[in-house]
Symmetry: C2
Subunit: 324 residues, 2 copies
Protein backbone atom coordinates (compact mmCIF):
# COMPACT_ATOMS: atom_id res chain seq x y z
CA UNK A 1 0.00 0.00 0.00
CA UNK A 2 1.99 3.13 1.00
CA UNK A 3 5.29 1.26 0.73
CA UNK A 4 4.59 -0.61 -2.46
CA UNK A 5 7.65 0.25 -4.48
CA UNK A 6 6.60 -1.17 -7.83
CA UNK A 7 3.44 -2.83 -8.97
CA UNK A 8 5.12 -5.96 -10.39
CA UNK A 9 4.91 -9.10 -8.28
CA UNK A 10 6.73 -12.31 -9.30
CA UNK A 11 5.16 -15.63 -8.42
CA UNK A 12 6.82 -19.03 -8.21
CA UNK A 13 4.36 -21.90 -8.22
CA UNK A 14 5.56 -24.80 -6.07
CA UNK A 15 2.53 -27.13 -6.29
CA UNK A 16 4.14 -29.82 -8.41
CA UNK A 17 7.07 -30.00 -5.97
CA UNK A 18 5.98 -28.85 -2.48
CA UNK A 19 2.40 -29.95 -3.07
CA UNK A 20 2.86 -33.27 -4.86
CA UNK A 21 5.68 -34.46 -2.59
CA UNK A 22 3.27 -35.04 0.29
CA UNK A 23 0.46 -36.58 -1.75
CA UNK A 24 0.01 -40.23 -0.81
CA UNK A 25 -0.46 -41.24 -4.45
CA UNK A 26 2.09 -41.02 -7.24
CA UNK A 27 0.91 -38.50 -9.83
CA UNK A 28 1.79 -40.03 -13.21
CA UNK A 29 4.66 -38.28 -14.98
CA UNK A 30 2.61 -37.28 -18.02
CA UNK A 31 0.01 -35.63 -15.80
CA UNK A 32 2.73 -33.70 -14.00
CA UNK A 33 4.14 -32.64 -17.36
CA UNK A 34 0.82 -31.46 -18.73
CA UNK A 35 0.03 -29.52 -15.56
CA UNK A 36 3.43 -27.83 -15.68
CA UNK A 37 2.92 -27.02 -19.36
CA UNK A 38 -0.46 -25.49 -18.57
CA UNK A 39 1.02 -23.51 -15.67
CA UNK A 40 3.79 -22.25 -17.95
CA UNK A 41 1.20 -20.68 -20.21
CA UNK A 42 -0.54 -18.78 -17.38
CA UNK A 43 2.26 -16.22 -17.14
CA UNK A 44 3.86 -17.39 -13.90
CA UNK A 45 7.41 -16.11 -13.45
CA UNK A 46 8.81 -19.33 -12.08
CA UNK A 47 7.76 -22.95 -11.58
CA UNK A 48 9.42 -25.28 -9.09
CA UNK A 49 9.31 -28.36 -11.29
CA UNK A 50 10.59 -31.09 -9.03
CA UNK A 51 13.09 -32.07 -6.39
CA UNK A 52 16.35 -33.89 -7.03
CA UNK A 53 16.30 -35.73 -3.76
CA UNK A 54 16.61 -39.46 -3.26
CA UNK A 55 13.66 -41.33 -4.85
CA UNK A 56 13.60 -43.45 -1.67
CA UNK A 57 13.12 -40.35 0.48
CA UNK A 58 10.46 -38.76 -1.74
CA UNK A 59 8.96 -41.43 -4.02
CA UNK A 60 6.30 -38.98 -5.25
CA UNK A 61 9.04 -37.11 -7.13
CA UNK A 62 11.05 -40.12 -8.26
CA UNK A 63 10.45 -39.06 -11.87
CA UNK A 64 12.42 -35.80 -11.52
CA UNK A 65 14.55 -36.38 -14.63
CA UNK A 66 11.65 -37.39 -16.86
CA UNK A 67 9.55 -34.43 -15.78
CA UNK A 68 12.36 -31.94 -16.33
CA UNK A 69 13.12 -33.37 -19.76
CA UNK A 70 9.57 -33.71 -21.00
CA UNK A 71 8.12 -30.31 -20.11
CA UNK A 72 7.90 -27.53 -22.67
CA UNK A 73 10.20 -24.70 -21.64
CA UNK A 74 8.91 -21.20 -22.29
CA UNK A 75 11.55 -18.47 -22.44
CA UNK A 76 9.89 -16.19 -19.89
CA UNK A 77 9.50 -18.86 -17.23
CA UNK A 78 12.29 -19.89 -14.87
CA UNK A 79 12.19 -23.65 -14.31
CA UNK A 80 13.69 -24.27 -10.90
CA UNK A 81 14.32 -27.50 -9.00
CA UNK A 82 14.96 -28.25 -5.39
CA UNK A 83 18.44 -29.54 -4.78
CA UNK A 84 19.61 -30.81 -1.39
CA UNK A 85 23.23 -31.72 -2.18
CA UNK A 86 25.93 -32.12 -4.83
CA UNK A 87 24.41 -35.29 -6.20
CA UNK A 88 21.10 -33.45 -6.68
CA UNK A 89 22.93 -30.54 -8.30
CA UNK A 90 24.56 -32.81 -10.87
CA UNK A 91 21.21 -34.35 -11.68
CA UNK A 92 19.51 -30.95 -12.00
CA UNK A 93 22.26 -29.54 -14.22
CA UNK A 94 22.12 -32.56 -16.49
CA UNK A 95 18.45 -31.70 -16.98
CA UNK A 96 19.26 -28.06 -17.68
CA UNK A 97 17.34 -26.63 -14.74
CA UNK A 98 17.36 -22.82 -14.98
CA UNK A 99 17.84 -22.52 -11.25
CA UNK A 100 18.93 -24.70 -8.36
CA UNK A 101 16.91 -24.09 -5.23
CA UNK A 102 19.11 -25.15 -2.33
CA UNK A 103 17.54 -25.82 1.05
CA UNK A 104 18.48 -25.86 4.68
CA UNK A 105 16.78 -24.84 7.89
CA UNK A 106 17.75 -22.00 10.21
CA UNK A 107 16.54 -24.15 13.11
CA UNK A 108 19.11 -26.72 14.27
CA UNK A 109 16.42 -29.14 15.45
CA UNK A 110 14.44 -28.83 12.23
CA UNK A 111 17.54 -29.25 10.07
CA UNK A 112 18.54 -32.37 11.98
CA UNK A 113 15.01 -33.74 11.76
CA UNK A 114 14.46 -32.90 8.13
CA UNK A 115 17.93 -33.21 6.59
CA UNK A 116 19.64 -35.33 9.28
CA UNK A 117 22.56 -32.93 9.46
CA UNK A 118 23.66 -30.06 11.61
CA UNK A 119 23.09 -26.65 10.05
CA UNK A 120 26.83 -26.15 9.65
CA UNK A 121 27.07 -29.46 7.81
CA UNK A 122 24.22 -28.45 5.49
CA UNK A 123 25.87 -25.11 4.88
CA UNK A 124 29.21 -26.73 4.00
CA UNK A 125 27.49 -29.10 1.56
CA UNK A 126 25.54 -26.30 -0.09
CA UNK A 127 28.63 -24.08 -0.24
CA UNK A 128 30.29 -26.83 -2.28
CA UNK A 129 27.30 -26.98 -4.59
CA UNK A 130 27.41 -23.22 -5.01
CA UNK A 131 31.15 -23.24 -5.78
CA UNK A 132 30.59 -25.98 -8.35
CA UNK A 133 27.51 -24.39 -9.93
CA UNK A 134 29.18 -21.00 -10.21
CA UNK A 135 31.11 -22.34 -13.19
CA UNK A 136 27.83 -22.72 -15.10
CA UNK A 137 25.22 -20.05 -15.77
CA UNK A 138 22.56 -21.71 -13.62
CA UNK A 139 20.78 -19.41 -11.19
CA UNK A 140 21.18 -20.15 -7.49
CA UNK A 141 18.50 -19.61 -4.87
CA UNK A 142 18.64 -20.67 -1.24
CA UNK A 143 15.42 -21.48 0.62
CA UNK A 144 15.84 -21.15 4.37
CA UNK A 145 13.26 -23.16 6.33
CA UNK A 146 11.69 -22.10 9.64
CA UNK A 147 12.58 -18.41 9.30
CA UNK A 148 9.49 -17.46 11.30
CA UNK A 149 9.68 -20.12 13.96
CA UNK A 150 10.35 -23.82 14.38
CA UNK A 151 7.55 -26.19 15.38
CA UNK A 152 9.96 -27.93 17.78
CA UNK A 153 12.23 -25.10 19.00
CA UNK A 154 9.71 -22.26 18.87
CA UNK A 155 11.05 -18.76 18.17
CA UNK A 156 14.02 -18.45 15.85
CA UNK A 157 15.80 -15.14 16.49
CA UNK A 158 15.73 -12.75 13.54
CA UNK A 159 19.50 -12.28 13.70
CA UNK A 160 19.93 -16.04 13.35
CA UNK A 161 17.90 -15.95 10.14
CA UNK A 162 19.87 -13.00 8.83
CA UNK A 163 23.17 -14.66 9.76
CA UNK A 164 22.44 -17.70 7.57
CA UNK A 165 21.13 -15.51 4.75
CA UNK A 166 24.33 -13.46 4.94
CA UNK A 167 26.57 -16.51 4.69
CA UNK A 168 24.87 -17.53 1.45
CA UNK A 169 24.77 -14.01 0.04
CA UNK A 170 28.52 -13.79 0.63
CA UNK A 171 28.88 -16.87 -1.57
CA UNK A 172 27.16 -14.97 -4.38
CA UNK A 173 23.75 -16.65 -4.66
CA UNK A 174 21.14 -14.83 -6.75
CA UNK A 175 18.25 -15.11 -4.34
CA UNK A 176 17.15 -16.04 -0.85
CA UNK A 177 13.73 -17.40 0.07
CA UNK A 178 12.60 -16.93 3.64
CA UNK A 179 10.27 -19.86 4.33
CA UNK A 180 7.49 -20.03 6.86
CA UNK A 181 7.69 -23.79 6.67
CA UNK A 182 4.90 -24.64 9.10
CA UNK A 183 2.72 -21.52 9.00
CA UNK A 184 3.98 -19.76 12.12
CA UNK A 185 4.60 -16.31 10.64
CA UNK A 186 2.48 -13.31 11.59
CA UNK A 187 2.28 -9.90 9.94
CA UNK A 188 4.31 -7.69 12.29
CA UNK A 189 7.08 -10.29 12.36
CA UNK A 190 7.04 -10.58 8.57
CA UNK A 191 7.29 -6.85 8.21
CA UNK A 192 10.20 -6.65 10.64
CA UNK A 193 12.23 -9.45 9.07
CA UNK A 194 11.59 -8.37 5.47
CA UNK A 195 12.45 -4.76 6.27
CA UNK A 196 15.68 -5.81 7.97
CA UNK A 197 16.60 -8.07 5.05
CA UNK A 198 15.94 -5.43 2.43
CA UNK A 199 17.90 -2.80 4.32
CA UNK A 200 20.91 -5.13 4.44
CA UNK A 201 20.71 -6.60 0.93
CA UNK A 202 18.67 -4.46 -1.42
CA UNK A 203 20.06 -6.16 -4.50
CA UNK A 204 19.52 -9.79 -3.55
CA UNK A 205 16.27 -11.25 -4.86
CA UNK A 206 14.12 -11.85 -1.79
CA UNK A 207 11.25 -14.34 -2.01
CA UNK A 208 8.76 -15.13 0.75
CA UNK A 209 7.29 -18.58 1.17
CA UNK A 210 4.21 -18.67 3.36
CA UNK A 211 1.88 -21.42 4.48
CA UNK A 212 -1.73 -20.70 5.36
CA UNK A 213 -1.75 -23.17 8.26
CA UNK A 214 -3.43 -20.75 10.66
CA UNK A 215 -5.23 -18.54 8.13
CA UNK A 216 -2.62 -15.77 8.11
CA UNK A 217 -1.13 -16.53 4.67
CA UNK A 218 -2.47 -13.60 2.67
CA UNK A 219 -2.16 -11.22 5.64
CA UNK A 220 1.53 -12.11 5.72
CA UNK A 221 1.78 -11.46 1.98
CA UNK A 222 0.26 -8.03 2.55
CA UNK A 223 2.77 -7.27 5.31
CA UNK A 224 5.65 -8.44 3.10
CA UNK A 225 4.47 -6.29 0.19
CA UNK A 226 4.29 -3.32 2.49
CA UNK A 227 7.92 -4.05 3.40
CA UNK A 228 8.82 -3.93 -0.30
CA UNK A 229 8.84 -7.66 -1.10
CA UNK A 230 7.74 -8.53 -4.63
CA UNK A 231 8.44 -12.26 -4.94
CA UNK A 232 6.34 -15.04 -3.49
CA UNK A 233 6.17 -18.79 -3.54
CA UNK A 234 2.62 -20.13 -3.73
CA UNK A 235 1.01 -23.43 -4.57
CA UNK A 236 -1.76 -24.05 -7.08
CA UNK A 237 -4.93 -24.97 -5.19
CA UNK A 238 -3.12 -24.40 -1.90
CA UNK A 239 -1.64 -27.89 -2.16
CA UNK A 240 1.10 -28.72 0.28
CA UNK A 241 0.87 -29.16 3.96
CA UNK A 242 2.52 -29.25 7.26
CA UNK A 243 3.39 -32.55 8.94
CA UNK A 244 2.81 -30.95 12.35
CA UNK A 245 -0.73 -29.91 11.55
CA UNK A 246 -2.73 -32.74 10.01
CA UNK A 247 -5.93 -31.41 8.47
CA UNK A 248 -4.57 -27.89 8.28
CA UNK A 249 -4.17 -26.15 4.95
CA UNK A 250 -0.82 -25.96 3.23
CA UNK A 251 1.03 -23.40 1.18
CA UNK A 252 -0.70 -20.18 0.31
CA UNK A 253 -2.86 -20.77 -2.73
CA UNK A 254 -1.54 -19.33 -6.00
CA UNK A 255 -4.92 -18.44 -7.47
CA UNK A 256 -6.13 -16.86 -4.22
CA UNK A 257 -2.90 -14.85 -4.12
CA UNK A 258 -3.15 -13.72 -7.77
CA UNK A 259 -6.82 -12.86 -7.23
CA UNK A 260 -6.04 -10.63 -4.24
CA UNK A 261 -3.03 -8.97 -5.86
CA UNK A 262 -4.99 -8.27 -9.04
CA UNK A 263 -7.77 -6.61 -7.04
CA UNK A 264 -5.09 -4.50 -5.37
CA UNK A 265 -3.91 -3.30 -8.76
CA UNK A 266 -0.64 -5.20 -8.64
CA UNK A 267 0.63 -6.90 -11.78
CA UNK A 268 1.54 -10.56 -11.43
CA UNK A 269 1.65 -11.14 -15.17
CA UNK A 270 -0.61 -14.14 -14.54
CA UNK A 271 -3.83 -14.87 -16.43
CA UNK A 272 -6.11 -15.60 -13.47
CA UNK A 273 -8.72 -17.42 -15.54
CA UNK A 274 -6.10 -19.73 -17.03
CA UNK A 275 -4.74 -20.35 -13.54
CA UNK A 276 -8.22 -21.17 -12.22
CA UNK A 277 -8.62 -23.66 -15.08
CA UNK A 278 -5.42 -25.37 -13.89
CA UNK A 279 -6.64 -25.37 -10.28
CA UNK A 280 -9.93 -26.99 -11.28
CA UNK A 281 -8.03 -30.01 -12.62
CA UNK A 282 -6.39 -30.69 -9.24
CA UNK A 283 -9.11 -32.50 -7.28
CA UNK A 284 -9.32 -35.30 -9.82
CA UNK A 285 -5.52 -35.39 -10.10
CA UNK A 286 -4.82 -35.69 -6.37
CA UNK A 287 -8.09 -37.39 -5.42
CA UNK A 288 -9.24 -34.92 -2.79
CA UNK A 289 -10.69 -31.46 -2.27
CA UNK A 290 -8.20 -28.57 -2.39
CA UNK A 291 -7.93 -25.67 0.08
CA UNK A 292 -8.03 -22.86 -2.53
CA UNK A 293 -11.10 -20.68 -2.10
CA UNK A 294 -11.40 -18.56 -5.25
CA UNK A 295 -11.96 -21.71 -7.27
CA UNK A 296 -15.01 -22.44 -5.08
CA UNK A 297 -16.33 -18.92 -4.55
CA UNK A 298 -15.49 -17.47 -7.94
CA UNK A 299 -13.69 -14.21 -8.52
CA UNK A 300 -15.06 -11.05 -6.91
CA UNK A 301 -15.90 -9.93 -10.44
CA UNK A 302 -18.03 -13.03 -11.13
CA UNK A 303 -21.46 -11.50 -10.55
CA UNK A 304 -24.72 -13.36 -9.95
CA UNK A 305 -28.17 -12.69 -11.37
CA UNK A 306 -30.85 -11.61 -8.87
CA UNK A 307 -33.31 -14.39 -7.96
CA UNK A 308 -36.17 -15.19 -10.34
CA UNK A 309 -38.71 -13.38 -8.15
CA UNK A 310 -36.66 -10.20 -8.07
CA UNK A 311 -38.70 -8.16 -10.58
CA UNK A 312 -41.95 -8.92 -8.77
CA UNK A 313 -40.50 -7.89 -5.41
CA UNK A 314 -38.95 -4.76 -6.87
CA UNK A 315 -42.27 -3.81 -8.48
CA UNK A 316 -44.15 -4.33 -5.23
CA UNK A 317 -41.63 -2.16 -3.39
CA UNK A 318 -41.98 0.56 -6.03
CA UNK A 319 -45.77 0.56 -5.66
CA UNK A 320 -45.45 0.74 -1.89
CA UNK A 321 -42.98 3.62 -2.15
CA UNK A 322 -45.55 5.62 -4.14
CA UNK A 323 -48.26 5.15 -1.53
CA UNK A 324 -48.71 8.09 0.85
CA UNK B 1 1.65 -1.70 12.25
CA UNK B 2 2.85 1.90 11.69
CA UNK B 3 -0.65 3.31 11.96
CA UNK B 4 -1.89 1.25 14.89
CA UNK B 5 -3.23 3.93 17.18
CA UNK B 6 -3.86 1.84 20.28
CA UNK B 7 -3.28 -1.79 21.00
CA UNK B 8 -6.85 -2.58 22.13
CA UNK B 9 -9.05 -4.42 19.66
CA UNK B 10 -12.74 -5.07 20.37
CA UNK B 11 -14.31 -8.24 19.02
CA UNK B 12 -17.98 -8.99 18.48
CA UNK B 13 -18.70 -12.69 18.02
CA UNK B 14 -21.59 -13.27 15.61
CA UNK B 15 -21.52 -17.09 15.37
CA UNK B 16 -24.76 -17.73 17.23
CA UNK B 17 -26.56 -15.25 14.96
CA UNK B 18 -24.80 -14.98 11.60
CA UNK B 19 -23.48 -18.54 11.84
CA UNK B 20 -26.45 -20.42 13.23
CA UNK B 21 -29.00 -18.67 11.00
CA UNK B 22 -27.81 -20.57 7.95
CA UNK B 23 -27.39 -23.95 9.62
CA UNK B 24 -29.91 -26.43 8.21
CA UNK B 25 -30.60 -27.86 11.67
CA UNK B 26 -32.17 -26.04 14.62
CA UNK B 27 -29.61 -25.75 17.42
CA UNK B 28 -31.57 -26.40 20.64
CA UNK B 29 -32.09 -23.30 22.78
CA UNK B 30 -30.23 -24.64 25.78
CA UNK B 31 -27.18 -25.41 23.63
CA UNK B 32 -27.26 -21.88 22.23
CA UNK B 33 -27.49 -20.53 25.78
CA UNK B 34 -24.59 -22.58 27.09
CA UNK B 35 -22.40 -21.63 24.13
CA UNK B 36 -23.19 -17.94 24.64
CA UNK B 37 -22.46 -18.28 28.36
CA UNK B 38 -19.12 -19.89 27.57
CA UNK B 39 -18.33 -17.19 25.01
CA UNK B 40 -19.20 -14.49 27.59
CA UNK B 41 -16.50 -15.85 29.86
CA UNK B 42 -13.77 -15.71 27.19
CA UNK B 43 -13.50 -11.92 27.43
CA UNK B 44 -15.20 -11.00 24.16
CA UNK B 45 -16.39 -7.37 24.07
CA UNK B 46 -19.68 -8.10 22.39
CA UNK B 47 -21.83 -11.07 21.41
CA UNK B 48 -24.54 -10.91 18.76
CA UNK B 49 -27.00 -13.14 20.56
CA UNK B 50 -29.80 -13.54 18.05
CA UNK B 51 -31.96 -11.88 15.46
CA UNK B 52 -35.45 -10.50 16.09
CA UNK B 53 -36.64 -11.29 12.61
CA UNK B 54 -39.73 -13.25 11.69
CA UNK B 55 -39.45 -16.88 12.87
CA UNK B 56 -40.90 -17.86 9.50
CA UNK B 57 -38.07 -16.08 7.68
CA UNK B 58 -35.30 -17.46 9.93
CA UNK B 59 -36.59 -20.55 11.78
CA UNK B 60 -33.09 -21.28 13.12
CA UNK B 61 -33.43 -18.22 15.38
CA UNK B 62 -37.12 -18.61 16.26
CA UNK B 63 -36.13 -18.85 19.93
CA UNK B 64 -34.76 -15.29 20.09
CA UNK B 65 -36.73 -14.35 23.23
CA UNK B 66 -35.85 -17.50 25.16
CA UNK B 67 -32.17 -17.21 24.31
CA UNK B 68 -32.01 -13.53 25.32
CA UNK B 69 -33.78 -14.22 28.59
CA UNK B 70 -31.92 -17.38 29.57
CA UNK B 71 -28.32 -16.33 28.99
CA UNK B 72 -26.14 -15.10 31.86
CA UNK B 73 -25.31 -11.45 31.31
CA UNK B 74 -21.81 -10.39 32.30
CA UNK B 75 -21.34 -6.66 32.94
CA UNK B 76 -18.36 -6.25 30.59
CA UNK B 77 -20.05 -7.87 27.61
CA UNK B 78 -22.45 -6.04 25.29
CA UNK B 79 -25.28 -8.36 24.27
CA UNK B 80 -26.50 -7.15 20.91
CA UNK B 81 -29.31 -8.42 18.69
CA UNK B 82 -30.09 -7.97 15.04
CA UNK B 83 -33.23 -5.94 14.47
CA UNK B 84 -34.74 -5.39 11.01
CA UNK B 85 -37.74 -3.24 11.92
CA UNK B 86 -39.92 -1.68 14.64
CA UNK B 87 -41.52 -4.97 15.55
CA UNK B 88 -38.06 -6.50 16.07
CA UNK B 89 -37.02 -3.47 18.12
CA UNK B 90 -39.96 -3.89 20.50
CA UNK B 91 -39.11 -7.57 20.92
CA UNK B 92 -35.41 -6.84 21.54
CA UNK B 93 -36.15 -4.08 24.06
CA UNK B 94 -38.57 -6.32 25.96
CA UNK B 95 -35.63 -8.72 26.32
CA UNK B 96 -33.31 -5.94 27.50
CA UNK B 97 -30.85 -6.20 24.65
CA UNK B 98 -27.90 -3.89 25.34
CA UNK B 99 -27.75 -2.89 21.71
CA UNK B 100 -29.94 -3.02 18.65
CA UNK B 101 -28.02 -3.87 15.50
CA UNK B 102 -30.04 -2.43 12.63
CA UNK B 103 -29.43 -3.67 9.11
CA UNK B 104 -29.81 -2.53 5.57
CA UNK B 105 -27.76 -2.85 2.40
CA UNK B 106 -26.01 -0.09 0.50
CA UNK B 107 -26.78 -1.99 -2.70
CA UNK B 108 -30.33 -1.43 -4.01
CA UNK B 109 -30.48 -4.87 -5.62
CA UNK B 110 -29.18 -6.62 -2.51
CA UNK B 111 -31.56 -4.70 -0.25
CA UNK B 112 -34.51 -5.62 -2.45
CA UNK B 113 -33.40 -9.24 -2.60
CA UNK B 114 -32.60 -9.58 1.07
CA UNK B 115 -35.10 -7.24 2.75
CA UNK B 116 -37.66 -6.87 -0.06
CA UNK B 117 -37.59 -3.11 0.20
CA UNK B 118 -35.91 -0.24 -1.53
CA UNK B 119 -32.99 1.21 0.40
CA UNK B 120 -34.94 4.40 1.07
CA UNK B 121 -37.79 2.32 2.52
CA UNK B 122 -35.35 0.45 4.77
CA UNK B 123 -33.82 3.72 5.86
CA UNK B 124 -37.20 5.22 6.74
CA UNK B 125 -38.12 2.13 8.79
CA UNK B 126 -34.82 2.14 10.62
CA UNK B 127 -35.04 5.91 11.23
CA UNK B 128 -38.35 5.27 13.02
CA UNK B 129 -36.72 2.56 15.12
CA UNK B 130 -33.87 4.90 15.99
CA UNK B 131 -36.26 7.72 16.97
CA UNK B 132 -38.21 5.30 19.14
CA UNK B 133 -35.14 3.67 20.74
CA UNK B 134 -33.54 7.02 21.52
CA UNK B 135 -35.99 7.35 24.44
CA UNK B 136 -34.32 4.32 26.07
CA UNK B 137 -30.67 3.83 26.92
CA UNK B 138 -30.18 1.03 24.42
CA UNK B 139 -27.14 1.32 22.18
CA UNK B 140 -27.72 1.63 18.45
CA UNK B 141 -25.50 0.17 15.77
CA UNK B 142 -26.20 0.07 12.05
CA UNK B 143 -24.72 -2.73 9.92
CA UNK B 144 -24.51 -1.75 6.28
CA UNK B 145 -24.37 -4.74 3.94
CA UNK B 146 -22.38 -4.93 0.70
CA UNK B 147 -20.05 -2.03 1.54
CA UNK B 148 -17.27 -3.61 -0.50
CA UNK B 149 -19.32 -4.77 -3.44
CA UNK B 150 -22.60 -6.46 -4.26
CA UNK B 151 -22.65 -9.99 -5.71
CA UNK B 152 -25.37 -8.87 -8.15
CA UNK B 153 -24.50 -5.23 -8.89
CA UNK B 154 -20.73 -5.47 -8.57
CA UNK B 155 -18.87 -2.37 -7.40
CA UNK B 156 -20.60 -0.13 -4.88
CA UNK B 157 -19.08 3.37 -5.03
CA UNK B 158 -17.35 4.44 -1.81
CA UNK B 159 -19.31 7.67 -1.70
CA UNK B 160 -22.53 5.66 -1.78
CA UNK B 161 -21.39 3.73 1.30
CA UNK B 162 -20.38 6.94 3.06
CA UNK B 163 -23.69 8.61 2.15
CA UNK B 164 -25.73 5.91 3.90
CA UNK B 165 -23.38 5.90 6.89
CA UNK B 166 -23.74 9.67 7.14
CA UNK B 167 -27.53 9.52 7.14
CA UNK B 168 -27.47 7.18 10.14
CA UNK B 169 -24.73 9.07 11.94
CA UNK B 170 -26.85 12.23 11.60
CA UNK B 171 -29.62 10.35 13.43
CA UNK B 172 -27.23 9.84 16.35
CA UNK B 173 -26.44 6.13 16.23
CA UNK B 174 -23.52 4.95 18.36
CA UNK B 175 -21.81 2.81 15.79
CA UNK B 176 -21.63 1.77 12.15
CA UNK B 177 -20.53 -1.61 10.88
CA UNK B 178 -19.25 -1.78 7.33
CA UNK B 179 -20.05 -5.30 6.16
CA UNK B 180 -18.30 -7.27 3.47
CA UNK B 181 -21.37 -9.46 3.20
CA UNK B 182 -20.17 -11.87 0.55
CA UNK B 183 -16.40 -11.66 0.91
CA UNK B 184 -15.63 -9.22 -1.91
CA UNK B 185 -13.39 -6.81 0.01
CA UNK B 186 -9.67 -6.54 -0.69
CA UNK B 187 -6.97 -4.79 1.33
CA UNK B 188 -6.36 -1.57 -0.61
CA UNK B 189 -10.12 -0.99 -0.84
CA UNK B 190 -10.54 -1.65 2.89
CA UNK B 191 -7.81 0.78 3.72
CA UNK B 192 -9.31 3.46 1.50
CA UNK B 193 -12.86 3.16 2.84
CA UNK B 194 -11.82 2.90 6.49
CA UNK B 195 -9.49 5.86 6.19
CA UNK B 196 -12.22 7.96 4.54
CA UNK B 197 -14.75 6.96 7.22
CA UNK B 198 -12.43 7.73 10.11
CA UNK B 199 -11.48 11.09 8.66
CA UNK B 200 -15.15 12.03 8.43
CA UNK B 201 -16.38 10.55 11.72
CA UNK B 202 -13.57 9.99 14.18
CA UNK B 203 -15.97 9.68 17.12
CA UNK B 204 -18.40 7.14 15.70
CA UNK B 205 -17.58 3.57 16.64
CA UNK B 206 -16.54 1.87 13.42
CA UNK B 207 -16.71 -1.92 13.17
CA UNK B 208 -15.62 -4.01 10.20
CA UNK B 209 -17.38 -7.23 9.28
CA UNK B 210 -15.41 -9.43 6.91
CA UNK B 211 -16.03 -12.79 5.35
CA UNK B 212 -13.19 -15.09 4.35
CA UNK B 213 -14.93 -16.26 1.18
CA UNK B 214 -11.86 -15.80 -1.01
CA UNK B 215 -9.19 -16.16 1.66
CA UNK B 216 -8.62 -12.42 2.17
CA UNK B 217 -10.34 -12.13 5.57
CA UNK B 218 -7.34 -11.63 7.82
CA UNK B 219 -5.49 -9.58 5.19
CA UNK B 220 -8.48 -7.22 5.22
CA UNK B 221 -8.35 -7.07 9.02
CA UNK B 222 -4.69 -6.10 8.78
CA UNK B 223 -5.50 -3.34 6.28
CA UNK B 224 -8.33 -2.07 8.50
CA UNK B 225 -6.09 -2.03 11.58
CA UNK B 226 -3.53 -0.05 9.63
CA UNK B 227 -6.30 2.45 8.86
CA UNK B 228 -6.99 2.77 12.59
CA UNK B 229 -9.96 0.41 12.92
CA UNK B 230 -10.14 -1.43 16.27
CA UNK B 231 -13.51 -3.19 16.16
CA UNK B 232 -14.29 -6.37 14.26
CA UNK B 233 -17.12 -8.82 13.86
CA UNK B 234 -15.97 -12.41 13.69
CA UNK B 235 -17.60 -15.80 14.03
CA UNK B 236 -16.49 -18.65 16.28
CA UNK B 237 -15.14 -21.46 14.11
CA UNK B 238 -15.63 -19.30 11.03
CA UNK B 239 -19.30 -20.32 10.95
CA UNK B 240 -21.51 -18.39 8.60
CA UNK B 241 -21.53 -18.40 4.87
CA UNK B 242 -22.41 -16.78 1.69
CA UNK B 243 -25.43 -17.88 -0.32
CA UNK B 244 -23.63 -16.96 -3.53
CA UNK B 245 -20.66 -19.19 -2.81
CA UNK B 246 -21.72 -22.67 -1.75
CA UNK B 247 -18.80 -24.55 -0.24
CA UNK B 248 -16.89 -21.35 0.44
CA UNK B 249 -15.95 -20.37 3.97
CA UNK B 250 -18.00 -17.85 5.89
CA UNK B 251 -17.25 -15.06 8.33
CA UNK B 252 -13.70 -14.56 9.48
CA UNK B 253 -13.01 -16.97 12.30
CA UNK B 254 -12.89 -15.46 15.79
CA UNK B 255 -10.19 -17.71 17.17
CA UNK B 256 -8.02 -17.32 14.05
CA UNK B 257 -8.44 -13.54 14.38
CA UNK B 258 -7.62 -13.48 18.12
CA UNK B 259 -4.64 -15.76 17.47
CA UNK B 260 -3.21 -13.42 14.82
CA UNK B 261 -3.87 -10.25 16.81
CA UNK B 262 -2.28 -11.73 19.94
CA UNK B 263 0.86 -12.64 17.98
CA UNK B 264 0.94 -9.05 16.74
CA UNK B 265 0.94 -7.79 20.32
CA UNK B 266 -2.59 -6.40 20.16
CA UNK B 267 -4.88 -6.82 23.13
CA UNK B 268 -8.28 -8.32 22.39
CA UNK B 269 -9.05 -9.05 26.05
CA UNK B 270 -9.93 -12.57 24.92
CA UNK B 271 -8.60 -15.75 26.52
CA UNK B 272 -7.60 -17.64 23.38
CA UNK B 273 -7.50 -21.04 25.06
CA UNK B 274 -11.02 -20.58 26.41
CA UNK B 275 -12.14 -19.48 22.95
CA UNK B 276 -10.54 -22.54 21.34
CA UNK B 277 -12.41 -24.72 23.86
CA UNK B 278 -15.67 -23.13 22.66
CA UNK B 279 -14.69 -23.66 19.01
CA UNK B 280 -13.97 -27.33 19.63
CA UNK B 281 -17.60 -27.84 20.68
CA UNK B 282 -18.94 -26.58 17.35
CA UNK B 283 -18.54 -29.58 15.01
CA UNK B 284 -20.77 -31.76 17.20
CA UNK B 285 -23.21 -28.87 17.70
CA UNK B 286 -23.66 -28.08 14.00
CA UNK B 287 -22.91 -31.55 12.65
CA UNK B 288 -20.09 -30.63 10.29
CA UNK B 289 -16.47 -29.59 10.11
CA UNK B 290 -15.76 -25.89 10.69
CA UNK B 291 -13.52 -23.59 8.63
CA UNK B 292 -11.44 -22.28 11.57
CA UNK B 293 -7.79 -23.29 11.21
CA UNK B 294 -6.12 -22.60 14.56
CA UNK B 295 -8.35 -25.20 16.15
CA UNK B 296 -6.92 -27.76 13.73
CA UNK B 297 -3.30 -26.60 13.53
CA UNK B 298 -2.89 -25.43 17.13
CA UNK B 299 -1.48 -22.09 18.18
CA UNK B 300 1.93 -21.06 16.89
CA UNK B 301 3.13 -21.43 20.49
CA UNK B 302 2.00 -25.09 20.68
CA UNK B 303 5.34 -26.78 20.07
CA UNK B 304 5.95 -30.38 19.07
CA UNK B 305 8.56 -32.83 20.35
CA UNK B 306 11.20 -33.98 17.86
CA UNK B 307 10.62 -37.49 16.48
CA UNK B 308 11.65 -40.50 18.58
CA UNK B 309 14.76 -41.11 16.46
CA UNK B 310 15.98 -37.54 16.88
CA UNK B 311 18.70 -38.19 19.49
CA UNK B 312 20.22 -40.96 17.42
CA UNK B 313 20.30 -38.80 14.29
CA UNK B 314 21.73 -35.85 16.20
CA UNK B 315 24.46 -38.04 17.71
CA UNK B 316 25.38 -39.46 14.31
CA UNK B 317 25.60 -35.92 12.89
CA UNK B 318 27.82 -34.88 15.81
CA UNK B 319 30.19 -37.77 15.20
CA UNK B 320 30.37 -36.97 11.51
CA UNK B 321 31.05 -33.30 12.26
CA UNK B 322 34.12 -34.31 14.28
CA UNK B 323 35.56 -36.40 11.45
CA UNK B 324 38.26 -34.67 9.43
Amino acid sequence: MSNISSNRIFINDVAVRDGFQIEPIFIPTEQKVSLINALSRTGLSKIEVTSFTSPQAIPALADAEEVMKEIERLPDVIYTALVPNMRGAHRALRCNADELNLVMSVSETHNLTNLRMQRSQSFDQLAEVIAFAKSSDVLLNVSLSCCFGCPMEGDVPMKEVLRWAERFIELGVDGITLCDTTGMAYPTQVRELCTAFRELWGNTELTLHFHNTRGMGLANVLAAIEAGVNRFDASLGGLGGCPYAPGATGNICTEDLVHMLSLMGLNTGVDLDALLMCARTLPSLVGHDIPGQTVKAGKVSDLHPPPAWFDEVAQRARVKALQP
